[in-house]
Amino acid sequence: MNLQEHVLSRRAARFQVDACDWKEAVKAGTDILVEAGTITEKYYHEILAGVEELGPYFIMAPGMAMPHGRPEGGVLENSFAIVTLKEPVNFGDPDNDPIDILITLAAVDAKTQNEEAIIQVVTLLDDEKAMADLRKATCIEDLEKIFNELEEMI
């Protein structure tokens, strides 16, 4: 499974999204995947229930989140969605708030096929230029350019 292929082929990204709170921000990502047919509506509620139980467990680093739930929470196919917010929102993680980049992950299991994509997520989130460009991106072509530049570096 390849992050870039998944996101670009399904056009699974929304840029400069208006979200008034973290739930809307999460929903922007899950809505993309529901539309793509890779998860069911249940997945959004699964993620919310997870936060209720464990706190915002998917905050990766300052400004960045990777919302995800368990496979049995409505995942039909491995997939990703990228969302950037016009205005950052707080997730209740004072050390890393506010968040304005979300990579929603839906995985059918936690095994190796997933790990390849996780490496790509980490590579993307780790790259300061890619993150700065992603925050400015307004269309899927901008995202494609970011991926291409990242790939040249690897």
Binding site: G50, E53, L54, G55, P56, Y57, F58, I59, M60, A61, P62, M66, H68, G69, R70, P71, D93, D95, N96, L105, A107, A110, N114, E115, I118, I119, V121, V122, L125, D126
Partner: protein
């Protein structure tokens, strides 16, 4: 060999990210270590099988119930080697000096 475990809520995403970043770090430092990841629910089983170091989000540390002798490192930024690196090195230097890279 040091056994290192990354733990998160459901073992699907966050712990995999920690595992990737920490593995890169351990390899670079030449530390003789194996690396696994799992969910909070599975962590007890792993820890009873002789895990030496556990890494997880700071928020999860209190849910972990690590047995004595397991070194738990709670993280804020899960991807920052600047944050977890020195903490891992402290544990390795103090408890596992024999596993340091030559």
């Amino acid at each position: 060999m040091i056994k290192v475990l990354a733990v998160c809520g459901n073992g699907m995403g966050t712990s995999l990210v920690i595992k990737m970043k920490v593995k890169q770090f351990l390899d670079k430092q030449g530390i003789n270590a194996s690396m696994e990841s799992c969910s909070l629910g599975e962590a007890g089983g792993y820890m009873n099988q002789g895990v030496n170091i556990v890494l997880c989000s700071k928020n999860l540390v209190s849910n972990l119930h690590a047995p004595e002798g397991v070194h738990v490192i709670g993280l804020v930024n899960l991807m920052s080697a600047k944050e977890f690196g020195p903490q891992i090195m402290n544990v390795v230097n103090e408890h596992f000096p024999g596993e340091m890279g030559k």
